[in-house]
């Protein structure tokens, strides 16, 4: 994930998608030929509550400009309660990141079901636009990751 200085900057977005809803939502978006920006790197996780705060920080360390956490709608979790936990944890974590100076708009939790292909595209498009406006993330990035 090195950044090539010669090219024009394009935001790099990491999206953690739950296997049961959001990842399938991304598939649906593809099947429906819905277009969304190619800046997003999708990482599949078994459940949104599998996401450890370390994952989010690692993403920022390696140059992500924004991090999206996506899971099933509350009440629809494949494991019954996983996303309720995600909701509390990520709220607290993102609030902490905001407190440390990483703008709150760079982190987001969205609920996307397997059927919501259009919504997936919409969320990613909107988030990319926000990050483009914010510009490159220089906070929490690890300069050592930039050397080629």
């Amino acid at each position: 994930m090195s950044v090539n200085e010669n090219k024009e900057w394009k935001p790099l977005i990491v999206a953690f998608c739950c296997n049961w809803c959001s990842y399938s939502g991304a598939d649906t978006a593809g099947n429906n030929r819905a277009s969304y920006p190619d800046n997003v790197k999708i990482i599949r996780v078994p459940c949104s509550c599998r996401i450890n705060p370390l994952f989010i920080l690692r993403a920022f360390q390696r140059g992500a400009d924004g991090v999206l956490v996506m899971g099933c709608h509350p009440g629809d979790c494949h494991y019954t309660t996983g996303n309720y936990h995600t909701r509390r944890r990520m709220t607290l974590l993102f609030s902490m990141l905001n407190y440390l100076g990483v703008e709150s708009a760079r982190t987001r939790v969205e609920w996307v079901s397997a059927a919501e292909g259009a919504r997936f595209a919409e969320v990613v498009t909107d988030f990319t636009k926000t990050i483009e406006e914010l510009g490159e993330n220089r906070r929490l990035e690890d300069l050592r990751c930039k050397t080629n």
Binding site: P53, L54, L57, Q61, V69, P74, G75, T81, Y84, H85, R87, R88, R89, M90, T91, L92, L93, F94, S95, M96, L97, N98, Y99, L100, G101, V102, E103, S104, A105, T107, R108, V109, R139, L140, E141, D142, L143, R144
Partner: protein, 324 residues
């Protein structure tokens, strides 16, 4: 106060209620006090000390002490009793093996604050009704105790003992403290200012791990940062990212279990205000999920591992400027 504690400790040792005492041991100076286990009346009489510098929270030591044979007597200040309860909640202490004596606390002095006032070469400190009389080899000084009190004591959250078998002195009340004021001030800054503030603080970190090792909530057998296979292993502040990650993850891991005892900030050799990270989490879950004080009762469920189906705020509250 010290005489009273020594008298009671000796009584309990002599009548066999306990076979050892966990307390504070005298050092070479009035302030360099080491937590220690005393096994005989003689040791207690000679070496036990309780003064303005006995800030160390003894509850973490109960984890190993309560595994041993026989009962151990421990002296707990009000804030220590919260840590004690929290450790009980997590089944880290065998309650049957502990005889807890609650003791009054009027706030502890911070020797670094004394030094910051230019008072050095301290040979003795006496507290006379709230005024510290300090002898140094360069002369005598006197300072109001409040002026050199540790930050955590100035913002004391509670003088109430939430766990004890016996109490020496009076029990106090939960206080209406101003401990979140500093957090609010940082929240009011712009993202850029906040980042600069924390960068200047966290970049001082030397990764000595004193904050982690002294923390009563940090009781993992093997820390993720010590585990070579964890992917988070690191022992150097090699890049500003590493320290930030260490402190964010540590604060997150103790969120909901941190009783805000302030040991992390006390021991930090670089004086990083680590309590401000913990207090941010405490403030957030208090505002979002209702008041919660870790360690107030045994068996509480922390809001960080709990949930409600309909009432929880969505993560977007963070974008909307935090908790309403």
């Amino acid at each position: 106060m010290q005489d009273e504690l020594i008298r009671r400790a000796c009584e309990l040792l002599e009548d066999g209620t306990v076979n050892r005492v966990l307390g504070w041991q005298k050092g070479q100076f009035v302030y360099d006090i080491t937590p220690a286990v005393f096994t005989s009346v003689e040791e207690v009489k000679n070496n036990f000390v309780y003064n303005d510098f006995c800030g160390a929270n003894l509850s973490k030591y109960l984890r190993s002490e309560s595994e041993k044979e026989g009962k151990v007597l421990v002296f707990l200040k009000p804030c220590d009793t919260y840590s004690f309860n929290q450790l009980l909640t997590e089944y880290k202490i065998h309650r049957d093996n502990v005889y807890a004596v609650g003791i009054e606390c009027y706030g502890k002095a911070d020797v670094e604050k004394l030094r910051a006032k230019g008072i050095d070469c301290i040979t003795d400190v006496k507290n006379e009704n709230g005024t510290l009389k300090i002898s140094t080899i360069y002369g005598e000084e006197s300072v109001p105790a409040m002026d050199v009190m540790a930050e955590r004591c100035l913002n004391c959250k509670s003088k109430k003992h939430v766990a004890y078998d016996e109490l020496i002195g009076e029990d106090g009340e939960v206080l209406d403290s101003h401990r979140f004021d500093e957090v609010e001030e940082i929240e009011k800054m712009s993202a850029e200012e906040r980042f600069k503030f924390w960068q200047s603080q966290l970049s001082k970190c030397i990764r000595c791990n004193a904050c982690r090792n002294v923390c009563p909530a940090c009781t993992c057998e093997k820390c993720v940062f010590d585990n070579y296979d964890s992917g988070a292993f690191n022992k150097a502040p090699a890049n500003s990212f590493e320290e930030s990650m260490f402190h964010i993850i540590r604060a997150f891991h103790v969120a909901g279990r941190c009783t805000d005892c302030g040991e992390c900030s006390r021991v930090c050799p670089e004086h990083i205000p680590l309590h401000l990270l913990n207090r941010k989490f405490i403030k957030d879950y208090n505002e979002l999920y209702g008041p919660f004080m870790a360690g107030a009762e045994v068996g509480q469920v922390s809001p960080v591992v709990d949930y409600t189906k309909d009432k929880d705020a969505e993560a977007s509250v963070v974008q909307k400027g935090g908790a309403e």
